[in-house]
Symmetry: C3
Subunit: 137 residues, 3 copies
Amino acid sequence: MKSFTEYLWFDTQYRREMIHITDTVRNIVDKSEVQEGFVLVSAMHITAAVYVNDNESGLIEDIWEWLEGLAPYQDDYKHHMTGEDNGDAHLKNLIMHHQVIVPITEGDLDLGPWQRVFYAEFDGGRRKRVVVKVIGE
Amino acid sequence: MKSFTEYLWFDTQYRREMIHITDTVRNIVDKSEVQEGFVLVSAMHITAAVYVNDNESGLIEDIWEWLEGLAPYQDDYKHHMTGEDNGDAHLKNLIMHHQVIVPITEGDLDLGPWQRVFYAEFDGGRRKRVVVKVIGE
Amino acid sequence: MKSFTEYLWFDTQYRREMIHITDTVRNIVDKSEVQEGFVLVSAMHITAAVYVNDNESGLIEDIWEWLEGLAPYQDDYKHHMTGEDNGDAHLKNLIMHHQVIVPITEGDLDLGPWQRVFYAEFDGGRRKRVVVKVIGE
């Protein structure tokens, strides 16, 4: 069994942002030389997500509006008694999930035709990290 | 390490459907001859989900009603400016998640007594695919 | 490739409870002697979740209130025609997801500084189980 680990760093200008990372993940799989296996792409923070969906700008706007409805920014989260103001970011993380596994087949990401991997930042403007870990043969 | 990959194809008659696939996944694990490992069951589309829950028809009706409340079909998604009408299906995919890992122990799916694997179609009537990938020994 | 499997049992006093299990998972990884790989932490029930987020009591209260809004306890779920009263627990499981993968790097859990692993019980007062399965080398 082979394994290969790399960390991606993000330092977004805005509080909320979606960053398309499919090609970055593919390059790491190339470097790993794994032909058959799994690559885990996992946010190392509790106020960000990693998800797979369409790279279409209208849909991305829809996702933001929808997430804001289900897990709104508001003042009165109990979490804010710690001095934080990012309670909504924790809840958005829980809906969207913080990780995906992409299967690797014949050395490439085994994704469907429209599947793309995204990092979703819910509390940006600080340096944050994603672990990309490949295992296989 | 062994690996084994198979693709399931679905061509649902209806737009929305839940399809029970536990036995199909178990058969693929049998064929893989893996005794200890993981099987990833992952939709290759952004308008479908794979999830684990109860095979109980009342609950399945509850899930549909609940999903429609949280991610409703509606005309005015921005994604629809591309000509699509399936914005809700993308959002339903995000709530339900598109993949599960089932552990394999002693050559069988290591599921709890009521856990069953389902494919959830949110935009059917076209041919769609799920990748089932086993890794282990 | 090595593999190592252990089961955690929970018998909560209350119907709903969050139980912090990061140290328990780390101990299992230690015992597995895997240096590089994945550990899957997966509820074996359809009315419980495993998730990664902050170990902060205010946030945990926020999560409960938020979950109750999105997947409320109510009498009239169709699932209750089977005699059950836990329809909400199934839906809470679907939002929160029943499993996480934690990467293992240099023999330890490769988590971010604030990431902690939790078992979330939505229908307790009975004995329930989580499978922890390590694969790697």
